[in-house]
């Protein structure tokens, strides 16, 4: 009995230590996840610092940050929220760390046969998923592309809206929607490889900005991470996942 108690006690003491031991906490917009999963080990190897990242939607992370979540760096999916943090005196000056691209992704290869407009308007694409045009930058960009191509009004009846770009991919990859206007990076995931895609060339690039938070528990570490983001190593990783 004593041994069991001691065991539980040790376990209880170890768990939080194990989970919160990172030197650097990063709030990361979900669309960048695949790249980040490669950047973090490279950074840890280069600097010896340990990193823990939280992946969520930009809006949610913003909400957590203004509620004093203890993050060091915020990598958003847009420019709006880092700019707002800076204007409110909560962060250092924001900078662009990546430019994303919208693609039309589908499990149905026929929808990628021509260009993206033909794919969206194809009668066999009964439902097309797009991210929330107001809150998700990829949604805004996709909407602008459809407006520029003159198909925004015509496509209304087939559009379904995901809360984030990851939910759009979820709708498309489960087949619930026949196609989705997804982030280029999702093409490189395991699920993404099972389908086809065409680049939405009319979609403006999604400019993703980042900033170091004023309340950062580890500002030196944060600065080193930001510096690391501009290394050729990270550039190559970004290109590999369809970012510029």
């Amino acid at each position: 009995m004593k041994r069991i108690c001691a065991f539980i006690l040790v376990l209880a003491l170890m768990l939080p230590a194990g989970a919160f031991a990172a030197d650097l906490f990063i709030a990361q917009a979900a669309n960048f996840t695949p790249v980040m999963k490669e950047i973090i080990p490279a950074f840890e190897k280069a600097t010896g610092l340990t990193v823990q990242a939280t992946y969520a939607s930009t809006g949610k992370l913003y909400g957590q940050i203004i509620s004093d979540a203890p993050f060091d760096v915020f990598l958003a999916a847009d420019q709006k929220r880092p700019d707002k943090l800076f204007a409110d005196g909560l962060s250092q000056k924001p900078f662009v760390y990546a430019k994303g691209q919208v693609v039309l992704w589908s499990r149905d290869k026929a929808l990628c046969a021509e260009d993206w407009k033909a794919g969206v308007m194809n009668p066999s694409a009964k439902k097309v998923a797009i991210a929330n045009t107001e809150t998700a930058p990829y949604g805004t960009s996709a909407m602008n592309a459809m407006k520029a191509a003159g198909i925004w009004d015509k496509a209304q009846s087939k559009l379904v809206f995901g809360q984030s770009i990851s939910q759009v991919f979820q709708f498309a990859s489960t087949g619930a929607a026949d196609a989705g206007l997804c982030a280029y990076s999702s093409v490189f995931t395991e699920e993404g490889k099972k389908g086809c895609f065409v680049v939405v060339d009319q979609a403006p690039p999604v400019i993703q900005a980042a900033c170091i938070l004023k309340s950062a528990p580890n500002p030196e570490g944060a600065a080193r991470f930001v510096e690391f983001l501009s290394t050729p190593e990270v550039q190559a990783l970004k290109l590999k996942y369809g970012y510029k």
């Binding site: 939607s57 949610k60 909400g63 439902k127 929330n132 379904v160 809206f161 995901g162 809360q163 619930a176």
Partner: protein
């Protein structure tokens, strides 16, 4: 300020409340009176949506209700339309999600029913149908009312499941909880506040009604 999401939520809650007795009553009687193998298994299956994270349940439903899923495929064959991303779809999801919340109070009120009442009714020559309407139903009215009103309130506030299968289409699947979530994400705190403030008195009234019913029963 657009009130469509609130009206849609009310519509969803109303239809769920109306349809759920049809689904829940037979299951509740089966659990209350049935003596069969696998009863605890059935019980667990019905109660599962109560304890599962709504997003997990929602993802499961998204797969089942999609055109490749069993329910979604069948629906598409029958109607030609898609089950997910439609009002019928979120209603279906809401029924599944609310099932345990209706079955449990119904089952409890059925189990409280004195079996001698039913025996006397049978001896006095009442058919099973007659004894259902003249004995079971009046005695379980409280349980039925409590279940319906609980389900109404519950589907009014439902978020996770509908987020997964709804697709936030204005006027069709964009219910109040989703609209509030989107307003918060878009930093439109004013709209979010107004919509929430409209929901609070409704939910409060519902809870008061449930309390009244419970007080009368005991």
């Amino acid at each position: 300020m657009d009130w469509t999401p609130l009206l849609l939520s009310a519509k969803l809650a109303f239809w769920t409340m109306l349809l759920i007795p049809i689904l829940a009553s037979p299951l509740a009687s089966l659990l209350a009176f049935g003596r069969f193998k696998g009863k605890s298994f059935l019980d667990a299956v019905i109660t599962l949506p109560m304890v599962m994270p709504p997003t997990v349940l929602g993802f499961g439903l998204l797969v089942v209700m999609g055109p490749r899923g069993v329910a979604g495929g069948l629906w598409e064959d029958l109607t030609g339309g898609r089950l997910v991303f439609s009002f019928a779809g979120i209603l279906f999801a809401s029924l599944i999600f609310n099932l345990p919340f209706a079955v449990q109070p119904l089952r409890a009120s059925l189990e409280k029913l004195d079996p001698r009442l039913l025996e006397s009714a049978a001896i006095l020559g009442l058919s099973p149908l007659e004894s259902f309407f003249r004995i079971v139903l009046p005695n379980c009215l409280g349980g039925l009312a409590a279940a319906s009103i609980l389900v109404f309130a519950h589907s009014l506030g439902e978020f996770g499941v509908i987020l997964m299968v709804g697709g936030s289409i204005p006027g069709q699947t964009q219910v109040a909880s989703i609209a509030i979530f989107e307003a918060v994400e878009a930093l439109r705190f004013d709209d979010a506040f107004k919509m929430s403030m409209a929901l609070v008195p409704i939910c409060f009234a519902v809870l008061m009604i449930i309390n009244k019913i419970n007080a009368r029963r005991s």
